[in-house]
């Protein structure tokens, strides 16, 4: 039985590899690392790239991804930095083209309010629930407290 289960799991694990729905660009792009002018530029670039999401492998940042589109976007980000654009301008550039999705911290908008407020909302609901339950229990505690005169 366990063996069957193991076999099934192994088979399942191969599924994603069998579904290449969407292709990456060219295998021949230059994978040469970016050349930075100075340490400040490098620090700024890495900080910025960490905040941007790769559009191809969506669970990686632009800094981490090896997808070719990420490579190209990294070059683009560095170019824009050298043209004297601010971090906000570079983010805008990417959002205009690839959508809000590229930001790991999306802006607060009508479509994203639940994302931002959600956790606080859940905490509030949980807090209220706990409060209500605790309030309800109070009489029992009172009963326990009332026989304080008992000698131990």
């Amino acid at each position: 039985m366990n063996r069957l289960l193991l076999a099934a799991l192994l088979w399942l694990a191969t599924l994603p590899a069998a579904l290449p729905v969407f292709a990456q660009a060219g295998q021949q792009a230059d994978a040469a690392p970016l050349q930075f002018h100075n340490a400040a530029e490098e620090t700024r670039f890495h900080a910025l790239a960490q905040q941007l999401r790769c559009v191809m492998c969506q669970n990686q940042s632009l800094a981490d991804s090896n997808a070719l589109i990420a490579l190209q976007l990294r070059h683009e980000v560095l170019d824009l930095m050298r043209q004297g654009q601010s971090d906000a301008q570079i983010k805008d550039y990417l959002v205009q083209r690839y959508g809000e999705f590229v930001l790991y911290q999306p802006k607060f908008e009508t479509s994203t309010w639940l994302l931002w407020v959600g956790p606080a909302l859940l905490l509030l609901i949980g807090g209220v629930t706990v409060l209500v339950i605790v309030r309800k229990r109070k009489p029992t505690i009172g009963n326990v407290a009332s026989d304080e005169g008992q000698e131990w």
């Binding site: 729905v21 292709a23 660009a25 589109i69 976007l73 205009q96 690839y98 809000e100």
Partner: protein
């Protein structure tokens, strides 16, 4: 007191519905595809050489006036080969101009690819560096854009086109554009 006994069950039911909704919403195989940020916005201007004769350049202004389909492909792209017969069938109906966008490809490879499988495109633009593609928000191939007569992007599909997608999404969108003119 009775009501509170049912509370955990109710909470579980709500959670179960929520999770089921999540599973239901992720049934779409294209769920990773990003919606285009350029939808209903003017297509980015470009000027690109023609694959078959790089001395000619085509710009967005040259294509305006009637709707057209922009299909991003590359000879390195396996899924484009899957899409190719579908696209060819659609192009042969002459319903719409189909413009090819050869992305990050060696022109020689691209020409050989078209030689081998047939050329469904009215004209093929060549973007070897892929810089113009960034303006279009292109991040993979195949991708297909429907641009209206005024140069506004009306529809985008990420991944290979199928007959069903053409029938259920592209053609209704095209009819809407034509009705609005």
């Amino acid at each position: 007191m009775k009501a509170s006994r049912w509370l955990p069950l109710a909470a579980f039911a709500v959670l179960a519905v929520l999770l089921a909704a999540g599973v239901w919403m992720s049934r779409n195989p294209d769920r990773d595809a990003l919606p285009s940020a350029l939808l209903n916005k003017p297509a980015p201007a470009f000027r690109l050489p023609v694959l078959h004769d790089p001395s000619y350049q085509v710009s967005l202004a040259d294509l305006k006036g009637n709707p057209f389909l922009l299909n991003v492909w590359g000879s390195w792209c396996v899924e484009c080969r899957v899409e190719h017969p579908v696209l060819t069938r659609f192009a042969e109906t002459k319903r719409l101009r189909v413009v090819g966008y050869n992305w990050k490809d060696e022109p020689a490879d691209a020409l050989r690819w078209l030689e081998q499988f047939g050329n469904p495109y009215m004209v093929v633009l060549s973007d070897v560096e892929g810089r113009t593609a960034l303006n279009w928000g292109i991040y993979g191939a195949p991708e297909t854009f429907l641009v209206d007569a005024h140069g506004i992007i009306r529809w985008k599909h990420v991944g290979p086109l199928t007959d069903a997608i053409i029938q259920q999404q592209l053609l209704p969108q095209l009819r809407r554009i034509e009705a609005a003119r």
